[in-house]
Symmetry: C2
Subunit: 216 residues, 2 copies
């Protein structure tokens, strides 16, 4: 459920979220965990990217965990935990985004002391998560070339929130007749300070570039 | 902006939306216009489907128009109006879904007397539009096989709202390693009364089936 609300109430809710996000950030920092919030539309490839990142970093001894957010179900959680990656499933029930309060509860369900890096996969949605930072060190927006080359300029708000912008499924650009250069150029226009990384999570292409962008 | 709100306020807002939706429905009915709300994620192919439907029905003398909803920009509006299809651009600014009130204003901007059919393209989002009927005769959910075969069961609420479920970009199923049968079966489980139509808007495949499902 999501609707316009009186401006005062909206401000109160965003302020409350920011306060909780700061608490989450402190907890993660004290625990020595680097944390990343992955936002992006349905099917952009967030879960597979988390898998590839955890696999690759795991080989170098970096201990990764994940919180898998979704409206309903545990498909993503099952995929990730089946690989032996510490994971928590987080259902919003009806809400279209995670928030700092839900994240706080998820953090209670994972042994932060055993992790170096935590990925939080937000609900598949390119609008709503923008307003609700979770308290991670950085926010990542993942888009897929299958979404069309107009999609960055259609959703500038979420890209302005991003520290890293990932353009995934690069192998499908030609079959989709999508020009990746337009996506890259729009991303750089909307958020000049963000790092833009092109990946193909299926083959693992670009995953090392993304790890560098994460600063790990 | 979208956040949990007190239950009373949520109920009031949904009731107010339903009342306005009923007024829109009356107006469209009195004007002799059949109306359809197209919901679905970003890049599912809603705009191209509207184009194909209007082109095909136009050849048979059915006069179609469209309202193109988006958070920002007028990419979709330009695409449709360039084809000579009467169209209205509808930006929500920040909201993740259309509502009956926004629709009411859009209807003021289009000559209903000159139309037989009106398509309303909702904001690209598979969560939020579910709660906000606009007053159309039917609601359509469009998904693309590129979103993965788990996406119906991840978002049952919006499919429960659908009278027609369209599975688009069928040509990409094999390259995406997505089993269309799983999408069809999940759709039939979630909403047994909905018609399920498989399309490839790019080539026009399945568009005649969809026109039949619309009852036109």
């Amino acid at each position: 459920m999501h609707q316009v609300m009186p401006i005062d109430m909206e401000k109160d809710l965003l302020d409350a979220n920011r306060k909780l996000a700061a608490e989450n950030h402190d907890l993660l920092g004290r625990s020595g965990v680097r944390s990343f919030d992955l936002m992006g539309s349905i099917g952009s490839g967030k879960t597979l990217l988390i898998q590839r990142l955890c696999e690759s970093m795991g080989k170098k001894g970096v201990r990764c965990g994940a919180v898998l957010g979704d409206v309903m179900g545990d498909d993503d959680y099952k995929r990730i935990s089946a690989l032996g990656i510490p994971a928590v499933n987080l259902n919003t029930g009806k809400e279209c985004h995670l928030d700092a309060h839900l994240t706080e509860h998820a953090l209670e369900g994972i042994d932060l002391g055993s992790l170096d890096v935590l990925f939080i996969e937000n609900v598949g949605n390119l609008v709503c998560p923008a307003d609700f930072p979770l308290g991670t060190d950085s926010r990542i927006v993942v888009i897929s070339v299958t979404e069309g080359d107009d999609m960055v300029r259609k959703h500038p708000l979420i890209f302005k929130e991003a520290d890293i912008i990932v353009i995934n499924k690069s192998d499908l650009a030609s079959i989709m007749e999508v020009d990746v250069n337009i996506l890259v150029s729009d991303a750089r226009t909307v958020k000049p300070s963000a790092e833009v990384v092109i990946t193909n999570a299926k083959t693992g292409e670009g995953v090392q570039d993304l790890i560098r962008a994460l600063g790990i």
